[in-house]
């Protein structure tokens, strides 16, 4: 490690930003190269918990999309409304799982090399997607109410 003071605090690092610090990027891949050192176990565990938190977020997106498509009654006048809302959530769940693994791999590599961890795009992607889906849901509901009368 370059300096232990530059490490993020691993205690309770559970969310998306838990194992992240600002600054430049690092190469992808989980295997260590020449000169890499095994990082402090607490940071490895914190990085793993961040990945698991993202995995649960991905599963929540998948089950929410599935529930919208399969369990909601059809919107009157908007027969494609359920798929419009549910399918993007399911796709996003798969994307979060894969990107979460790549992010874990990058962070682990940075920890091994004592470099700063690259900022994640996932918080921004999640915020934008959830906001967009809320807007689309409101539009579908309004459209359905208008077409019903």
């Amino acid at each position: 490690m370059a300096a232990s003071d530059s490490r993020p605090d691993p205690a309770g690092a559970e969310g998306v930003a838990g194992a992240e610090a600002d600054a430049e990027g690092a190469g992808a891949g989980g295997a260590g190269g020449a000169g890499d050192a095994e990082p402090d176990a607490r940071f490895t565990f914190a990085n793993e918990r961040t990945f698991l938190a993202l995995t649960r977020t991905a599963l929540a997106f998948v089950v929410a999309g599935l529930a919208i498509v399969q369990l909601l009654p059809p919107f009157p006048g908007v027969p494609w409304g359920r798929r419009l809302l549910g399918v993007p959530l399911i796709v996003l769940g798969g994307v979060i799982a894969v990107v979460g693994y790549l992010q874990w791999s990058r962070n682990q590599q940075a920890l091994r090399r004592g470099e700063a961890m690259s900022p994640s795009i996932l918080p921004r992607v999640l915020s934008v997607t959830i906001t967009a889906m809320a807007i689309v849901a409101a539009v579908v509901l309004l459209l359905s109410a208008l077409l019903e009368h």
Binding site: S4, P10, A11, G12, E14, G30, A31, E38, D40, A41, R42, T44, F45, A46, N47, E48, R49, F51, L52, A53, T55, R56, A58, L59, A60, V62, V63, G65, L66, A67, V69, Q70, L71, R83, G86, V87, I90, V91, G93, G94, A97, V98, G100, Y101, W104, S105, Q108
Partner: protein, 99 residues
Amino acid sequence: MAPRGDLQDPPPGLARERTRLAWSRTVIAFAAVGGALLKTSIAAGAIVVVTAVVLWQLFRVFPAEADGGARPARLRLVAITVAGVSLVALAVAFLGPGA
């Protein structure tokens, strides 16, 4: 007061427990997705529930190393499994009984 050098790399302690609990929550989330799938597609739901059980057994048989070494193969397996579950969910969304 302990010398600063002793505090540089303390044992992981409760970090391992927190990680174990995080794995438990993740497996429960897997099982919940399987339960939701069972509602509409018994085969797809059963596959996901069995996958959750297999992941849990993998975690139990191969517990975290004492030194907290990284386990990329296990995490890669989880990521691929979630991506696969999302594909199954997509298939159910388009081909399931409510579609």
